[in-house]
Amino acid sequence: MSTIEIEGRVFEVDGDGFLADPHIWDEEVAKLIAKHDGIEEMNDKHWAIVNIIRKNWEEKGMAPMVRTICKETGVRLKEIYELFPLGPARGACRVAGLPKPDGCV
């Protein structure tokens, strides 16, 4: 297991930088991971996306389809890729504290 240090806080993460224990996640952690990815300030849209991802994971045990993210948040698809340049998986899901999704992501 690796660790990353962001602004003095140390997190245990997998090799891809996803939280080893998704349960330690809170808003403060989200802000720090976002910062680590170059997102200096989380805006309302960032939060809406992260919250729906988190909710879906807590209820269904997996990340939502990007379709669900768009529907629930009202954010346009192309804008999601601008808000999270690493995409919904390595970008948004990581900020939301989820384990890394399987597949080509």
């Binding site: 997998d14 090799g15 891809d16 930088g17 996803f18 990815d37 170059g38 997996m62 990340a63 389809m65 990007v66 379709r67 669900t68 529907k71 698809l77 192309k78 340049p85 690493l86 995409g87 919904p88 998986a89 390595r90 890394k100 999704p101 399987d102 597949g103 080509c104 992501v105």
Partner: protein, 432 residues
């Protein structure tokens, strides 16, 4: 290395029982250690570590072969550097064969005497898979595919909902309520496949392909039961699981009565179904299978779709997926497409058969264990891209797309990454 025992060892040695397999026998015994493969390898180029030289990867497999299958190896192993298959060897195999190889086959193409190095690495992975030593993160993706029918475990209703959403979008885009993304239709000319990352997170490529199908007036369908083009068991080395996954697509071709199977832009998916699939299943396909790159080129060449290269004016470069170019020989089609759909196309150096792997192949993208190495070898690709001055990098492989997205961010390239279908869709002229 918990619980290694004699039973597992026998299973591990099984793939080396040559039994008249002259291909395996030849390649296991042919390496002359000339060392020319070293510079072929992206890992060696970056790390300059002699352990990463492809010949070393061949060595570890062939030294185990000698230990158990040759007279000298059985009785005088030290004379032929024959190696015991024990925990120490296994640990080294896992690190070398899974952790420092993208199965890009560049070494195979460069080998001075033609040793199929990629095949031996895959054989070594099969040995490890037989013993249960597939890295957990890689196995997890295989399990998702086996257990749920797609490698991201997308539930059926969520998949259908996404496709319906994309269909509505398409209708708005082309201003035609009859534009469709057909699901589960029988007796169509084409059964199209997807990489699950498309419906899950990156559906623009589905929209793009659907738009091209619309423009071509194609008779096509997707199947909700089996749409996954990927086969991660090709990466893990587990041939039984590879067969199960390939068989599903084969069965779906029969169930839907489709004439041609079109594989989404996915290097290993194309390889594992079209070129390896018949071997896994031990039978020939009685239907045509082709990659979407070939189909897109066919549409443009035949005039079935009209395109205008003036619609894509930014500088574009092309990343060649290893499995398509080196293993599949699909080299000219993607260039033909780009020459017709973009006005400023520049090649990377090197490119085509000699192209460098993006670093995400061989299952690397899914294996968190080796993330640091993956991003480091990706630096070579970043340099190649930078040197072209391109603003857009196109690649006909979703796996490469994801690695390129990460390279783009990590090396601050400031480029856009697109699939082939997206570029073609942007260049389309649709007659009303």
């Amino acid at each position: 290395m918990d619980g290694f025992n004699e039973d597992m060892k026998l299973k591990g040695l099984e793939p080396l029982r040559v039994n008249g397999d002259s291909r395996l026998l030849t390649h296991l015994n042919a390496c002359v250690h000339c060392g020319l493969c070293a510079e072929s390898c992206v890992y060696y180029q970056v790390y300059k570590d002699e352990h990463f030289v492809p010949a070393k990867k061949v060595d570890i497999v062939s030294s185990i072969y000698r230990r158990y299958n040759t007279f000298s190896g059985k009785y005088f192993p030290w004379l032929t550097k024959a190696r015991e298959l024990d925990e120490k060897t296994i640990e080294e195999m896992v690190d070398l064969l899974y952790g420092t190889c993208t199965m890009c086959d560049r070494c195979t193409v460069h080998c001075s005497i033609g040793v199929d190095i990629g095949y031996l690495v895959r054989t070594g992975r099969t040995m490890l898979a037989n013993m249960g030593y597939v890295p957990a993160t890689l196995q997890s993706t295989v399990n998702a595919a086996i257990n749920t029918g797609n490698n991201m475990a997308i539930p059926l209703d969520e998949f259908t909902d996404t496709i319906e959403w994309l269909e509505e979008d398409l209708q708005m885009e082309v201003e035609d309520d009859n534009a469709r993304i057909p699901l589960n239709e029988k007796d169509k000319d084409i059964l199209y496949t997807l990489n699950p990352r498309e419906p899950k997170f990156f559906p623009l490529s589905i929209s793009a392909m659907a738009k091209v199908f619309y423009a071509a007036g194609e008779s096509w369908t997707l199947s909700t039961r089996m749409y996954d083009v990927t086969n991660y068991a090709y990466f893990s080395g587990n041939n039984e699981e590879a067969e199960i996954i390939a068989q599903r697509l084969f069965d779906e071709m029969e169930a839907t009565g489709s004439k041609r199977c079109v594989l989404a832009e996915c290097g290993h998916g194309s390889r594992s179904f079209r070129w390896e699939g018949p071997n896994y299943m031990g039978k020939e396909f009685h239907f045509d299978t082709l990659t979407s790159v070939e189909l897109l080129a066919e549409y443009i060449r035949s005039g079935k779709v009209k395109v205008d290269s003036g619609k894509n004016t930014e500088r574009v470069t092309l990343h060649d997926p290893c499995n398509l170019v080196r293993s599949g020989g699909i080299i000219d089609e993607q260039r033909y497409i780009l020459k017709n759909t973009v006005s400023d196309f520049v090649e990377m150096t090197p490119h085509g058969t000699n192209n460098l792997c993006c670093g995400g192949g061989g299952g690397q993208l899914s294996m968190s264990e080796y993330n640091e190495r993956r991003m480091k070898i990706g630096g070579l690709k970043a340099e190649q891209i930078k040197n072209t001055g391109a603003k857009i990098v196109v690649t006909p492989c979703h796996n490469c797309v994801d690695q390129l997205i990460q390279i783009n961010a990590a090396y601050k390239l400031g480029v856009q990454i697109k699939t082939m279908a997206e570029v073609v869709a942007d260049a389309l002229i649709i007659d009303k």
